[in-house]
Amino acid sequence: MTTMQATAADPTAAALERARALACAIGESAPFRAFEAAQEALQADADLGSRLSAFQVREQELRLSRSWGGADPEEVRALEREWEDLAKHPVLAAHLAAREGLASLLREVAGQISEGVGLDYGAACAPAGGCC
């Protein structure tokens, strides 16, 4: 039995086949390719990488302090200024823009699937975080 015959006989397998075709189309789209290129550029810039790592460590420390109610507002402002500065770096700026471009495409895709099947795609696939 060929793959086509198998999926025609099994609607669930056919849906998964369509999902793979969609993934390939997303992989070939301009927003995805731009994101991949921006990701590579970011990984290739060692100096920017170490600035980002240092920023993330400070951000994590500040988040912890905040959760204990002890974050210094001056430190929070300093970190915000540092982020504004970092985000002006052309490689990071390009990465952020590419990431948003891809996120926008993925939101559109998820929205169309949700509308088509009558179920929130994102909520169905998000890690369980139920309240009960």
């Binding site: 849906a15 999902a19 909520a123 169905a124």
Partner: protein, 129 residues
């Protein structure tokens, strides 16, 4: 302005349309949509939901007014329990779970190819309330 097909968005839209069509033909989604339809169309269930909303509003008002009334609590809990036991609700919850499982499987297929969790990146942690 660039043509949508130039940047591959046109192909993505077309593949999404095909995926939605295929999903709607899958038993899990068909059964979910049928269960959802029965759930929405049932007048008795509609009355039970309205009753629960009314009890819940009375409970909220009592709490806002700092009145502690254990009977109201019990009323809400009983109404919730009656709803959860209703055969159409039981069917709906089961069908929704199966449909969500298929969507997660779909998402996993795409993540394997793209290295990106689409559902996880757009979704929010699924609360129940």
């Amino acid at each position: 302005m660039a043509d949508a097909s130039e940047d591959g968005r046109g192909a993505v839209t077309e593949r999404v349309r095909e995926l939605v069509e295929a999903l709607r033909a899958a038993p899990a989604i068909e059964q979910f949509r049928a269960a959802q339809e029965r759930f929405r169309a049932d007048t008795e269930l509609g009355r039970m939901q309205a009753g629960l909303r009314w009890s819940h509003e009375r409970l909220q008002r009592a709490q806002q007014e700092k009145r502690h009334d254990p009977r109201l609590f019990q009323e809400v809990r009983d109404a919730q329990a009656r709803l959860q036991r209703h055969p159409l609700v039981v069917d709906f919850v089961e069908a929704r779970q199966a449909a969500q499982d298929l969507l997660r499987e779909t998402n996993q297929e795409m993540a394997t190819i793209l290295g990106i969790d689409i559902g996880g990146s757009v979704g929010r942690a699924g609360g129940c309330c």
